[in-house]
Symmetry: C2
Subunit: 353 residues, 2 copies
DNA sequence: GTGAAAGCGCTAACAG
DNA sequence: CTGTTAGCGCTTTCAC
């Protein structure tokens, strides 16, 4: 009962397997009476198509591979969610890949693509394996990059304007009257970290503020690194009055460290993060940060991938998704300064091809 | 170049496809010289097996399906990580499923199993679809339940002792001298929520403390529900001095609400959570909670599933993984009481078959 | 130790 | 509109 094949339905109804196949796939070339007889019999015999057979025949797997750098990082969750939802709607399943920043693993996933495990791939790894281990024609592979740019890959991207959003975040601090603004960056020279630092620099320069080398430190996106670098910044003879931190997790670390040093946030020091992860709002104080439309990025990446899999070329295309600046309680006017900062949220960014 | 088949290697070497297949799969019945010639040619011609063809022939997919109730919940992340790691090591890929508590979706994933999308399934949904939509012989399907029990399913489980761990958490509060201990439960009548409440009740009764109906409230595991129920408990004429909250997210909500009410944690009220999610440690105050070995649960579930897929029967088997009680800063001795609470971490739970 | 042949379940090209 | 035929790429009898 549980393993009826097309052949069984054909036998049951005295039809050929081909007709049954056509009826089941709505090919239109089947007479209505036959069609419903087939559908009824399929239902009754509990027919389910065998995916391996179909995949072999059609040379497709109806699956996409979603490869992230660290599957344990909650940051990627909503993207997965968006990808999964859009994939389902299009009839695709999602295979999970986790590289753990391991080059061999990255190559493996490209191999899986070629082996027919999946028809396309969404890369959220911020990098590619070495050129020599990659297939010759990268551009011809159905691969879309999301979130973390892979520069000079020529692959289509779905991401945010990291420079612009970072700049907006720092300008918020400037409007609050801050001048001594430090930056805890991500793991430069990674692209995303570099872009956010660039946004910081442009905002500072745009306001005619000095770029001090001792106000720029490089972290690794993890919480302890936020603590450590915060301590370092406050050991300077002239510590900052505000810090723009490249991601929320390090920002949490910085805030906790300030609490330990009995420096109050935001009264004495303002902190701005980036990402708006789960709990950034529930944290104390609620974190002012840049919110990325993660689920939408996931959906958009999948939508773009579908187009690429259907043969459209999107080489070099970059889709920018809008970010939202969330003004919360971790930032406040510089004491003694008359500031004019906005409150609430501000949409930033546009979309172009 | 990029799509060499077994046939191509055979032609290249003047062998039969059968021999090439055998050589590549180490079947042992191939002479050594032939074997290495084949391996060399495979390398040179960039041979990669076609998974659909192999799957069709072998009637397996070498993939497992991991179905969670809400893919956006960071709580499941480490489990995914464990499953993925163990699956990779065994040569399996992982397909993601997300039910969003939707019964139809749940059925779909069972169908995917039967359709050959995957060879086995790990369920982290806390429930099964209605009996009539399920295959007759549930026990014969390679399905393993993790984390959230599905009672009376007869399926093998990998989980923690929710009653025991909850009881230990509440006993910690009792040892600190607390007597007026309330409980914000999960969405009863769900199994996990019910078990944790049962642990609370047993601890209270075991210590001869009164079980007050107004000290038991039912939440939904989400943050706002923690805020709401905390407020409710503190509107009682005799508010609690400690709250055992069924999960960390609601505990964060409770702590935030207490802060708003200017009630200090842990000086005036102690809070214990459950789960030890990302940031429970970085939260302020760091949350005393029950830590689950999530990655290990994921690995163990996959390991068990492999055995089930290899034909072993594990009907009704329950594997209990040990929890660790994390004493952090959200709990303190009742003011005026002489307490004897432990500090640090305590391992709880055993493992049996 | 190797080859020939069959077939997994499905779909598509070609006839009629 | 329906049937016949072939074949996707692989593994596995069964012979030799």
């Amino acid at each position: 009962m549980s393993r009826a094949r097309i052949k069984d339905i054909a036998a049951e109804l005295g039809l050929s397997p081909a007709t049954v196949s056509r009826a089941l796939s709505d090919s239109g070339l089947v007479a209505e009476p036959t069609r419903s007889r087939v559908r009824e019999a399929a239902q009754r015999l509990n027919y389910r198509p065998n995916v391996s057979a179909r995949n072999l025949r059609t040379q497709r797997s109806m699956a996409v591979l979603m490869v992230v750098r660290d599957i344990g990082n909650p940051f990627y969750l909503d993207i997965v969610k968006g990808v999964e939802a859009a994939a389902r709607e299009a009839g695709y399943s999602v295979l999970m890949g986790n590289t753990e920043n391991n080059a061999e693993r990255e190559v493996e996933y490209f191999d899986m693509l070629r082996d027919g495990h999946a028809d396309g791939m969404i890369l959220i790894t911020g990098k590619l394996p070495d050129a020599e281990s990659l297939p010759e024609a990268l551009h011809d592979l159905p691969v879309v990059v999301a979130l973390e740019p892979i520069e000079e890959s020529g692959l289509p991207h779905v991401m945010i304007d990291n420079i612009g959003a970072a700049r907006e975040a720092v300008e918020h601090l400037i409007k609050l009257g801050h001048k001594r603004i430090a930056h805890i960056a991500g793991p430069i020279p990674e692209a995303m970290a570099t872009l956010r630092r660039e946004g910081y620099r442009r905002a500072m320069q745009g306001a005619g503020l000095e770029l001090r080398a001792d106000y720029e430190v490089i972290g690794d996106y993890q919480l302890p690194s936020g603590e450590r670098h915060c301590r370092q910044l406050f050991s300077l003879s002239e510590p900052p009055t505000a810090i723009f931190v490249a991601n929320d997790e390090m920002a949490f670390g910085a805030i906790n460290e300030l609490r330990r040093m009995s420096v109050s946030v935001p009264e004495e020091v303002s902190i701005v993060g980036f990402d708006d992860i789960f709990l950034s709002q529930a944290f104390y104080p609620p974190l002012t940060t840049v919110s990325q439309p993660r689920t939408a990025i996931g959906r958009e990446a999948m939508r773009l991938l579908l187009e690429v899999m259907h043969g459209e070329s999107h080489t070099g295309e970059i889709i920018m998704m809008p970010t939202t600046f969330q003004t919360r309680a971790s930032t406040a006017p510089l004491r003694g300064a008359s500031a004019s900062a906005r409150t609430g949220e501000t949409v930033f960014g546009k979309r172009h091809a």
